[in-house]
Protein backbone atom coordinates (compact mmCIF):
# COMPACT_ATOMS: atom_id res chain seq x y z
CA UNK A 1 0.00 0.00 0.00
CA UNK A 2 1.30 3.43 -0.80
CA UNK A 3 1.86 5.94 1.97
CA UNK A 4 -0.72 8.26 0.42
CA UNK A 5 -3.35 5.54 0.40
CA UNK A 6 -2.64 4.66 4.05
CA UNK A 7 -3.03 8.28 5.19
CA UNK A 8 -6.15 8.65 3.09
CA UNK A 9 -7.73 5.56 4.71
CA UNK A 10 -6.93 6.78 8.22
CA UNK A 11 -8.40 10.23 7.56
CA UNK A 12 -11.44 8.69 5.91
CA UNK A 13 -12.16 6.39 8.85
CA UNK A 14 -11.84 9.25 11.35
CA UNK A 15 -14.14 11.42 9.20
CA UNK A 16 -16.77 8.68 8.99
CA UNK A 17 -16.60 8.16 12.76
CA UNK A 18 -17.11 11.86 13.50
CA UNK A 19 -19.94 12.09 10.97
CA UNK A 20 -21.73 9.14 12.58
CA UNK A 21 -21.25 10.73 15.99
CA UNK A 22 -22.63 14.10 14.89
CA UNK A 23 -25.36 12.48 12.82
CA UNK A 24 -26.67 10.27 15.60
CA UNK A 25 -26.82 13.21 18.01
CA UNK A 26 -29.00 15.14 15.55
CA UNK A 27 -31.06 12.13 14.51
CA UNK A 28 -31.92 11.00 18.03
CA UNK A 29 -31.62 14.50 19.54
CA UNK A 30 -29.30 13.33 22.31
CA UNK A 31 -28.82 15.89 25.07
CA UNK A 32 -25.30 17.24 25.36
CA UNK A 33 -25.36 16.23 29.03
CA UNK A 34 -25.05 12.67 27.86
CA UNK A 35 -23.05 13.02 24.71
CA UNK A 36 -21.64 16.31 23.49
CA UNK A 37 -21.28 16.82 19.78
CA UNK A 38 -17.82 16.66 18.20
CA UNK A 39 -17.85 20.44 17.85
CA UNK A 40 -18.69 20.96 21.51
CA UNK A 41 -15.82 18.65 22.41
CA UNK A 42 -13.53 20.57 20.10
CA UNK A 43 -14.73 23.82 21.65
CA UNK A 44 -14.08 22.57 25.17
CA UNK A 45 -10.73 21.09 24.09
CA UNK A 46 -9.55 24.37 22.57
CA UNK A 47 -10.64 26.50 25.51
CA UNK A 48 -8.98 24.15 28.01
CA UNK A 49 -5.87 24.03 25.88
CA UNK A 50 -5.71 27.82 25.66
CA UNK A 51 -6.12 28.22 29.41
CA UNK A 52 -3.12 25.92 29.96
CA UNK A 53 -5.21 23.62 32.18
CA UNK A 54 -5.15 20.81 29.65
CA UNK A 55 -1.40 21.03 29.26
CA UNK A 56 -0.85 20.83 33.00
CA UNK A 57 -2.99 17.71 33.46
CA UNK A 58 -1.49 16.11 30.35
CA UNK A 59 1.99 16.79 31.68
CA UNK A 60 1.21 15.09 35.01
CA UNK A 61 -0.24 12.00 33.33
CA UNK A 62 2.68 11.92 30.89
CA UNK A 63 5.25 11.98 33.71
CA UNK A 64 3.42 9.18 35.53
CA UNK A 65 3.06 7.11 32.36
CA UNK A 66 6.62 7.47 31.13
CA UNK A 67 8.26 6.97 34.53
CA UNK A 68 6.11 3.93 35.27
CA UNK A 69 6.80 2.57 31.82
CA UNK A 70 10.55 2.97 32.15
CA UNK A 71 10.69 1.39 35.62
CA UNK A 72 8.34 -1.43 34.60
CA UNK A 73 10.29 -2.08 31.42
CA UNK A 74 13.65 -2.12 33.19
CA UNK A 75 12.45 -4.47 35.93
CA UNK A 76 10.64 -6.64 33.39
CA UNK A 77 13.62 -6.97 31.09
CA UNK A 78 16.14 -7.62 33.87
CA UNK A 79 13.96 -10.17 35.69
CA UNK A 80 12.85 -11.77 32.44
CA UNK A 81 16.46 -12.22 31.42
CA UNK A 82 17.52 -13.63 34.79
CA UNK A 83 14.57 -16.03 34.96
CA UNK A 84 15.28 -17.32 31.46
CA UNK A 85 18.86 -18.03 32.53
CA UNK A 86 18.19 -19.70 35.88
CA UNK A 87 15.55 -22.33 36.56
CA UNK A 88 16.12 -21.88 40.30
CA UNK A 89 15.36 -18.19 40.13
CA UNK A 90 12.35 -18.95 37.96
CA UNK A 91 10.87 -21.18 40.67
CA UNK A 92 11.70 -18.72 43.46
CA UNK A 93 10.20 -15.71 41.71
CA UNK A 94 7.28 -17.14 39.76
CA UNK A 95 4.73 -17.29 42.63
CA UNK A 96 5.28 -13.60 43.39
CA UNK A 97 5.26 -12.55 39.78
CA UNK A 98 2.06 -14.43 39.00
CA UNK A 99 0.45 -13.14 42.20
CA UNK A 100 1.44 -9.58 41.28
CA UNK A 101 -0.15 -10.03 37.89
CA UNK A 102 -3.36 -11.77 38.96
CA UNK A 103 -4.15 -9.36 41.78
CA UNK A 104 -6.41 -6.70 40.31
CA UNK A 105 -4.37 -3.50 40.19
CA UNK A 106 -7.47 -1.58 41.18
CA UNK A 107 -7.41 -3.45 44.48
CA UNK A 108 -3.83 -2.39 45.12
CA UNK A 109 -4.30 1.22 44.07
CA UNK A 110 -5.84 2.36 47.39
CA UNK A 111 -2.95 0.75 49.26
CA UNK A 112 -0.40 2.59 47.18
CA UNK A 113 -2.32 5.75 47.87
CA UNK A 114 -1.98 5.15 51.61
CA UNK A 115 1.69 4.26 51.32
CA UNK A 116 2.88 6.83 48.81
CA UNK A 117 0.35 9.64 49.02
CA UNK A 118 -1.86 11.47 46.55
CA UNK A 119 1.00 12.67 44.37
CA UNK A 120 2.55 11.08 41.34
CA UNK A 121 4.61 8.49 43.26
CA UNK A 122 1.62 6.22 43.93
CA UNK A 123 0.62 6.44 40.23
CA UNK A 124 4.12 5.56 39.11
CA UNK A 125 4.01 2.48 41.34
CA UNK A 126 0.72 1.27 39.87
CA UNK A 127 1.93 1.94 36.34
CA UNK A 128 5.19 0.09 36.95
CA UNK A 129 3.27 -2.89 38.27
CA UNK A 130 0.94 -2.99 35.27
CA UNK A 131 3.70 -2.48 32.69
CA UNK A 132 6.09 -4.98 34.19
CA UNK A 133 4.32 -8.23 33.36
CA UNK A 134 4.00 -8.28 29.56
CA UNK A 135 7.58 -7.09 29.23
CA UNK A 136 8.82 -9.65 31.72
CA UNK A 137 7.03 -12.52 29.99
CA UNK A 138 8.12 -11.43 26.54
CA UNK A 139 11.75 -11.07 27.59
CA UNK A 140 11.82 -14.52 29.15
CA UNK A 141 10.19 -16.06 26.08
CA UNK A 142 12.51 -14.16 23.76
CA UNK A 143 15.66 -15.39 25.47
CA UNK A 144 14.38 -18.95 25.69
CA UNK A 145 13.44 -19.05 22.02
CA UNK A 146 16.83 -18.08 20.65
CA UNK A 147 17.79 -20.33 17.74
CA UNK A 148 19.78 -23.18 19.34
CA UNK A 149 22.01 -23.38 16.26
CA UNK A 150 23.06 -19.80 16.84
CA UNK A 151 23.88 -20.68 20.45
CA UNK A 152 26.02 -23.55 19.17
CA UNK A 153 27.63 -21.19 16.71
CA UNK A 154 28.62 -18.82 19.50
CA UNK A 155 30.15 -21.77 21.36
CA UNK A 156 32.05 -22.82 18.26
CA UNK A 157 33.59 -19.39 17.83
CA UNK A 158 34.49 -19.32 21.55
CA UNK A 159 32.44 -16.22 22.26
CA UNK A 160 32.51 -15.08 25.87
CA UNK A 161 29.42 -14.26 27.91
CA UNK A 162 29.39 -10.60 27.05
CA UNK A 163 29.86 -11.33 23.34
CA UNK A 164 26.98 -13.80 23.44
CA UNK A 165 24.79 -11.22 25.13
CA UNK A 166 25.69 -8.39 22.80
CA UNK A 167 25.81 -10.29 19.52
CA UNK A 168 23.14 -12.92 20.01
CA UNK A 169 20.79 -12.56 22.97
CA UNK A 170 20.12 -8.86 22.69
CA UNK A 171 19.49 -8.56 18.93
CA UNK A 172 17.68 -11.87 18.77
CA UNK A 173 15.23 -10.96 21.52
CA UNK A 174 14.55 -7.37 20.45
CA UNK A 175 11.50 -8.12 18.27
CA UNK A 176 9.70 -10.02 21.02
CA UNK A 177 10.76 -7.57 23.74
CA UNK A 178 9.48 -4.72 21.61
CA UNK A 179 6.16 -6.49 21.18
CA UNK A 180 6.03 -6.48 25.00
CA UNK A 181 7.07 -2.84 25.17
CA UNK A 182 4.31 -1.91 22.74
CA UNK A 183 1.60 -3.50 24.85
CA UNK A 184 3.40 -2.14 27.94
CA UNK A 185 3.19 1.49 26.82
CA UNK A 186 -0.57 1.31 26.21
CA UNK A 187 -1.03 -0.34 29.61
CA UNK A 188 1.10 2.40 31.16
CA UNK A 189 -1.51 5.01 30.26
CA UNK A 190 -4.20 2.78 31.76
CA UNK A 191 -2.11 2.42 34.93
CA UNK A 192 -1.69 6.16 35.36
CA UNK A 193 -5.40 6.80 34.81
CA UNK A 194 -6.43 4.03 37.23
CA UNK A 195 -4.14 5.57 39.83
CA UNK A 196 -5.65 8.98 39.28
CA UNK A 197 -9.19 7.62 39.52
CA UNK A 198 -8.51 6.26 42.99
CA UNK A 199 -7.25 9.54 44.32
CA UNK A 200 -5.39 12.43 42.80
CA UNK A 201 -5.45 16.17 42.39
CA UNK A 202 -4.04 16.34 38.89
CA UNK A 203 -3.83 14.39 35.66
CA UNK A 204 -6.20 13.43 32.87
CA UNK A 205 -7.78 10.67 34.96
CA UNK A 206 -8.43 13.22 37.69
CA UNK A 207 -9.91 15.52 35.03
CA UNK A 208 -12.38 12.80 34.04
CA UNK A 209 -13.49 12.33 37.64
CA UNK A 210 -13.69 16.09 38.08
CA UNK A 211 -15.73 16.58 34.90
CA UNK A 212 -18.09 13.77 35.88
CA UNK A 213 -18.65 15.41 39.28
CA UNK A 214 -19.59 18.64 37.50
CA UNK A 215 -21.76 16.76 35.00
CA UNK A 216 -19.60 18.48 32.40
CA UNK A 217 -19.22 15.90 29.66
CA UNK A 218 -17.22 18.41 27.61
CA UNK A 219 -14.36 18.14 30.14
CA UNK A 220 -14.68 14.38 30.30
CA UNK A 221 -14.49 14.04 26.54
CA UNK A 222 -11.64 16.50 26.29
CA UNK A 223 -9.67 14.35 28.74
CA UNK A 224 -10.56 11.17 26.84
CA UNK A 225 -9.53 12.66 23.50
CA UNK A 226 -6.28 13.83 25.05
CA UNK A 227 -5.65 10.34 26.49
CA UNK A 228 -6.21 8.78 23.10
CA UNK A 229 -3.85 11.29 21.51
CA UNK A 230 -1.01 10.80 23.98
CA UNK A 231 -1.46 7.01 23.88
CA UNK A 232 -1.07 7.06 20.11
CA UNK A 233 1.98 9.30 20.35
CA UNK A 234 3.65 7.13 23.03
CA UNK A 235 2.89 3.98 21.07
CA UNK A 236 4.27 5.43 17.86
CA UNK A 237 7.43 6.58 19.62
CA UNK A 238 8.07 3.11 21.06
CA UNK A 239 7.25 1.62 17.68
CA UNK A 240 9.62 3.99 15.88
CA UNK A 241 12.46 3.22 18.29
CA UNK A 242 11.84 -0.47 17.64
CA UNK A 243 11.88 -0.05 13.86
CA UNK A 244 15.04 1.98 14.11
CA UNK A 245 16.81 -0.73 16.12
CA UNK A 246 15.49 -3.59 13.97
CA UNK A 247 15.81 -2.45 10.40
CA UNK A 248 16.63 -6.03 9.55
CA UNK A 249 13.49 -7.53 11.01
CA UNK A 250 10.84 -8.82 8.63
CA UNK A 251 7.92 -7.90 10.88
CA UNK A 252 8.97 -4.28 10.43
CA UNK A 253 8.61 -4.49 6.69
CA UNK A 254 4.90 -4.60 6.07
CA UNK A 255 3.07 -5.38 9.29
CA UNK A 256 1.90 -2.40 11.22
CA UNK A 257 -0.14 -2.74 14.36
Amino acid sequence: MTKFKKIFLIILSIFVFISLWEGSIRLFSISNFLLPSPFEVLNSYVSMALSGRLFYHTWVTTVETISGFIFGALIGIVLGYLVSKSKTLDYILSPFIIAAQTTPKLALAPLFLIWFGFGIISKIFITTLIVFFPIFVNTAVAIKSINPNLKDLMKLVHANRWQVFKNLELPSSLPIIFAGLKSGITLAVVGAVVGEFVGANAGLGYLIIFGTGQLNTGIVFTAIVQLVLISIIFYEVVSAIGSRLMKWHHSEKDVHY
Binding site: N149, L153, M154, N167
Partner: protein, 260 residues
Protein backbone atom coordinates in the same frame (compact mmCIF):
# COMPACT_ATOMS: atom_id res chain seq x y z
CA UNK B 1 45.08 -37.08 -2.12
CA UNK B 2 48.46 -38.64 -2.69
CA UNK B 3 50.33 -35.70 -1.22
CA UNK B 4 48.99 -36.14 2.28
CA UNK B 5 48.02 -39.53 3.50
CA UNK B 6 48.43 -38.74 7.16
CA UNK B 7 45.55 -39.59 9.40
CA UNK B 8 44.06 -36.42 10.89
CA UNK B 9 41.19 -37.96 12.87
CA UNK B 10 41.05 -41.46 14.27
CA UNK B 11 37.62 -42.30 15.63
CA UNK B 12 37.81 -45.11 18.17
CA UNK B 13 34.84 -47.00 19.59
CA UNK B 14 32.80 -43.87 19.91
CA UNK B 15 29.58 -44.37 21.86
CA UNK B 16 27.03 -41.80 22.90
CA UNK B 17 24.05 -42.50 25.14
CA UNK B 18 21.45 -39.83 25.75
CA UNK B 19 19.57 -39.65 29.03
CA UNK B 20 15.98 -38.74 28.35
CA UNK B 21 12.81 -38.70 30.40
CA UNK B 22 11.95 -42.11 28.96
CA UNK B 23 15.28 -43.64 29.80
CA UNK B 24 18.51 -44.14 27.94
CA UNK B 25 18.59 -43.74 24.19
CA UNK B 26 21.44 -44.96 22.05
CA UNK B 27 22.79 -42.11 19.99
CA UNK B 28 25.86 -43.86 18.66
CA UNK B 29 27.35 -47.21 19.41
CA UNK B 30 30.90 -48.26 18.81
CA UNK B 31 31.84 -46.12 15.86
CA UNK B 32 35.35 -46.43 14.44
CA UNK B 33 36.89 -45.02 11.26
CA UNK B 34 39.77 -42.88 10.05
CA UNK B 35 39.85 -39.55 8.27
CA UNK B 36 42.94 -38.67 6.27
CA UNK B 37 44.23 -35.15 5.78
CA UNK B 38 42.66 -33.54 2.73
CA UNK B 39 40.09 -36.28 2.40
CA UNK B 40 36.35 -35.75 2.03
CA UNK B 41 34.58 -38.25 4.23
CA UNK B 42 30.82 -38.40 3.86
CA UNK B 43 28.62 -39.93 6.56
CA UNK B 44 25.49 -41.42 5.05
CA UNK B 45 22.61 -43.06 6.82
CA UNK B 46 18.89 -42.89 7.51
CA UNK B 47 17.39 -40.27 9.81
CA UNK B 48 18.09 -41.04 13.44
CA UNK B 49 21.26 -43.03 12.81
CA UNK B 50 23.31 -40.50 14.75
CA UNK B 51 25.33 -38.93 11.96
CA UNK B 52 24.65 -35.42 13.20
CA UNK B 53 25.48 -36.50 16.75
CA UNK B 54 28.78 -37.80 15.48
CA UNK B 55 29.54 -34.49 13.81
CA UNK B 56 28.64 -32.61 16.98
CA UNK B 57 31.17 -34.74 18.85
CA UNK B 58 33.78 -33.82 16.23
CA UNK B 59 32.94 -30.17 16.93
CA UNK B 60 33.13 -30.66 20.74
CA UNK B 61 29.55 -29.46 21.04
CA UNK B 62 28.83 -32.67 22.94
CA UNK B 63 31.01 -35.21 24.70
CA UNK B 64 31.02 -38.91 23.84
CA UNK B 65 29.93 -41.34 26.54
CA UNK B 66 32.70 -43.75 25.62
CA UNK B 67 35.52 -43.86 23.10
CA UNK B 68 37.45 -40.99 21.62
CA UNK B 69 38.45 -39.08 18.54
CA UNK B 70 42.22 -38.93 18.25
CA UNK B 71 43.35 -35.78 16.51
CA UNK B 72 46.67 -35.94 14.63
CA UNK B 73 47.85 -38.86 16.70
CA UNK B 74 47.43 -37.01 19.96
CA UNK B 75 45.59 -39.11 22.44
CA UNK B 76 43.09 -36.48 23.30
CA UNK B 77 39.37 -36.92 23.05
CA UNK B 78 38.85 -33.17 23.27
CA UNK B 79 41.34 -31.59 20.90
CA UNK B 80 40.61 -27.91 21.40
CA UNK B 81 43.50 -27.07 19.15
CA UNK B 82 41.86 -28.59 16.10
CA UNK B 83 40.62 -25.70 14.00
CA UNK B 84 37.51 -26.33 11.99
CA UNK B 85 34.66 -24.54 10.28
CA UNK B 86 31.17 -25.83 11.06
CA UNK B 87 28.27 -25.50 8.65
CA UNK B 88 24.81 -26.15 10.01
CA UNK B 89 21.86 -27.94 8.51
CA UNK B 90 19.89 -24.79 7.93
CA UNK B 91 21.75 -21.62 7.27
CA UNK B 92 22.40 -20.30 10.72
CA UNK B 93 22.90 -16.70 9.79
CA UNK B 94 22.11 -13.88 12.14
CA UNK B 95 19.18 -12.05 10.55
CA UNK B 96 20.26 -8.77 12.12
CA UNK B 97 23.70 -8.84 10.54
CA UNK B 98 24.46 -8.05 6.92
CA UNK B 99 26.00 -10.78 4.80
CA UNK B 100 29.55 -9.55 5.30
CA UNK B 101 29.05 -9.06 9.03
CA UNK B 102 27.79 -12.63 9.28
CA UNK B 103 30.87 -13.91 7.52
CA UNK B 104 33.36 -12.08 9.74
CA UNK B 105 31.68 -13.19 13.00
CA UNK B 106 34.19 -15.93 13.94
CA UNK B 107 37.14 -13.55 13.54
CA UNK B 108 35.28 -10.67 15.15
CA UNK B 109 34.72 -12.76 18.28
CA UNK B 110 38.45 -13.43 18.40
CA UNK B 111 39.02 -9.70 18.33
CA UNK B 112 40.98 -9.74 15.09
CA UNK B 113 41.74 -6.59 13.14
CA UNK B 114 38.61 -5.32 11.42
CA UNK B 115 40.24 -4.22 8.19
CA UNK B 116 41.96 -7.50 7.42
CA UNK B 117 38.89 -9.56 8.36
CA UNK B 118 36.71 -7.56 5.98
CA UNK B 119 39.25 -7.93 3.21
CA UNK B 120 39.27 -11.65 3.80
CA UNK B 121 35.48 -11.78 3.78
CA UNK B 122 35.39 -9.91 0.48
CA UNK B 123 37.68 -12.49 -1.07
CA UNK B 124 35.37 -15.26 0.11
CA UNK B 125 32.34 -13.42 -1.24
CA UNK B 126 34.08 -13.37 -4.59
CA UNK B 127 34.93 -17.04 -4.37
CA UNK B 128 31.25 -17.83 -3.75
CA UNK B 129 29.84 -15.36 -6.30
CA UNK B 130 28.21 -13.20 -3.66
CA UNK B 131 30.08 -9.90 -4.09
CA UNK B 132 26.93 -8.00 -4.96
CA UNK B 133 25.21 -9.00 -1.75
CA UNK B 134 27.81 -7.82 0.75
CA UNK B 135 25.48 -5.37 2.47
CA UNK B 136 22.24 -7.32 2.09
CA UNK B 137 20.46 -8.91 5.02
CA UNK B 138 19.97 -12.70 5.00
CA UNK B 139 16.22 -12.35 4.53
CA UNK B 140 16.83 -10.80 1.11
CA UNK B 141 18.74 -13.85 -0.12
CA UNK B 142 17.52 -17.20 -1.45
CA UNK B 143 18.11 -20.39 0.52
CA UNK B 144 20.99 -21.42 -1.70
CA UNK B 145 22.70 -18.06 -1.35
CA UNK B 146 22.29 -18.11 2.40
CA UNK B 147 23.92 -21.51 2.57
CA UNK B 148 26.83 -20.17 0.51
CA UNK B 149 27.19 -17.36 3.03
CA UNK B 150 27.27 -19.99 5.79
CA UNK B 151 30.07 -21.75 3.94
CA UNK B 152 31.97 -18.47 3.61
CA UNK B 153 31.63 -17.99 7.38
CA UNK B 154 32.92 -21.51 7.90
CA UNK B 155 35.95 -20.74 5.74
CA UNK B 156 36.85 -17.33 7.14
CA UNK B 157 39.32 -18.56 9.74
CA UNK B 158 41.16 -20.70 7.15
CA UNK B 159 40.29 -23.91 8.98
CA UNK B 160 42.04 -27.05 7.77
CA UNK B 161 38.85 -28.98 8.51
CA UNK B 162 35.22 -28.35 7.50
CA UNK B 163 32.44 -30.10 9.40
CA UNK B 164 29.22 -29.97 7.40
CA UNK B 165 25.92 -31.15 8.83
CA UNK B 166 23.51 -31.74 5.92
CA UNK B 167 24.24 -28.23 4.72
CA UNK B 168 22.20 -28.46 1.53
CA UNK B 169 19.37 -30.71 2.67
CA UNK B 170 16.86 -27.86 2.81
CA UNK B 171 17.48 -26.98 -0.83
CA UNK B 172 15.92 -28.44 -3.94
CA UNK B 173 17.91 -31.09 -5.77
CA UNK B 174 19.08 -28.84 -8.61
CA UNK B 175 20.41 -26.22 -6.21
CA UNK B 176 21.89 -28.90 -3.98
CA UNK B 177 23.94 -30.43 -6.79
CA UNK B 178 25.05 -27.00 -7.95
CA UNK B 179 26.38 -26.29 -4.46
CA UNK B 180 27.96 -29.75 -4.24
CA UNK B 181 30.07 -28.94 -7.29
CA UNK B 182 30.79 -25.47 -5.96
CA UNK B 183 32.05 -27.06 -2.78
CA UNK B 184 34.33 -29.33 -4.81
CA UNK B 185 35.70 -26.26 -6.57
CA UNK B 186 36.33 -24.50 -3.29
CA UNK B 187 38.08 -27.56 -2.02
CA UNK B 188 40.44 -27.52 -4.98
CA UNK B 189 41.59 -24.09 -3.81
CA UNK B 190 41.54 -24.52 -0.04
CA UNK B 191 42.36 -28.22 0.26
CA UNK B 192 40.26 -28.72 3.39
CA UNK B 193 39.62 -31.99 5.05
CA UNK B 194 35.84 -32.28 4.93
CA UNK B 195 33.53 -34.37 7.05
CA UNK B 196 30.13 -34.13 5.45
CA UNK B 197 26.83 -35.53 6.71
CA UNK B 198 23.98 -36.27 4.33
CA UNK B 199 21.12 -38.68 3.77
CA UNK B 200 21.43 -38.42 0.00
CA UNK B 201 23.46 -41.21 -1.57
CA UNK B 202 23.82 -39.20 -4.78
CA UNK B 203 25.28 -36.27 -2.90
CA UNK B 204 27.59 -38.58 -1.00
CA UNK B 205 28.99 -40.10 -4.18
CA UNK B 206 29.43 -36.68 -5.83
CA UNK B 207 31.50 -35.39 -2.93
CA UNK B 208 33.20 -38.28 -1.18
CA UNK B 209 36.62 -39.79 -1.28
CA UNK B 210 35.24 -42.18 1.27
CA UNK B 211 31.68 -42.85 2.36
CA UNK B 212 30.99 -44.10 5.87
CA UNK B 213 27.64 -45.85 5.83
CA UNK B 214 25.71 -45.90 9.08
CA UNK B 215 22.82 -48.11 10.11
CA UNK B 216 20.03 -47.93 12.68
CA UNK B 217 19.69 -49.93 15.90
CA UNK B 218 22.49 -50.15 16.66
CA UNK B 219 23.59 -46.78 15.30
CA UNK B 220 26.93 -47.87 14.03
CA UNK B 221 29.09 -48.10 10.93
CA UNK B 222 27.78 -50.82 8.60
CA UNK B 223 30.19 -50.27 5.78
CA UNK B 224 32.78 -48.10 4.09
CA UNK B 225 33.04 -47.32 0.42
CA UNK B 226 36.02 -45.70 -1.26
CA UNK B 227 34.85 -43.59 -4.20
CA UNK B 228 37.19 -43.27 -7.17
CA UNK B 229 35.85 -41.13 -9.96
CA UNK B 230 37.21 -39.29 -12.98
CA UNK B 231 37.16 -35.50 -12.75
CA UNK B 232 34.27 -34.30 -10.67
CA UNK B 233 32.35 -31.89 -12.84
CA UNK B 234 28.59 -31.75 -13.42
CA UNK B 235 29.11 -34.12 -16.41
CA UNK B 236 29.77 -36.72 -13.77
CA UNK B 237 26.03 -37.00 -13.28
CA UNK B 238 25.58 -38.69 -16.66
CA UNK B 239 28.59 -40.94 -16.27
CA UNK B 240 27.83 -44.69 -15.80
CA UNK B 241 30.77 -45.00 -13.38
CA UNK B 242 29.00 -42.54 -11.12
CA UNK B 243 25.83 -44.62 -11.08
CA UNK B 244 27.82 -47.79 -10.49
CA UNK B 245 29.19 -46.17 -7.34
CA UNK B 246 25.74 -45.03 -6.29
CA UNK B 247 24.36 -48.54 -6.75
CA UNK B 248 27.19 -50.14 -4.80
CA UNK B 249 26.78 -47.69 -1.93
CA UNK B 250 23.06 -48.29 -1.90
CA UNK B 251 23.62 -52.03 -1.74
CA UNK B 252 25.77 -51.71 1.39
CA UNK B 253 23.13 -49.51 2.98
CA UNK B 254 20.30 -51.92 2.15
CA UNK B 255 22.19 -54.91 3.40
CA UNK B 256 22.76 -53.19 6.75
CA UNK B 257 19.23 -51.98 7.10
CA UNK B 258 17.14 -55.05 7.57
CA UNK B 259 13.80 -53.31 7.35
CA UNK B 260 14.20 -51.98 3.82
Amino acid sequence: MTSSQKIIYKVENLTKTFETARGKVDGLSNISFDVKTGETVVLVGPSGCGKSTLLRIFAHLIEPTKGKIIFKGKNDSHPKNSKFGYIFQRSTLMPWRTIIDNIVLPLEMKGEDKKTTYEKAKKLLKLLNLEKFEHYFPIDLSGGMRQRVAIARGLISDPPVLLMDEPFSALDEIMRQKLDFELLNIKKKTNNTIIFVTHSILEAVILADKIIIMGLNPNTVIGEKIIKLPERTPELLINPIFFKNVAETRKILEKGLKFI
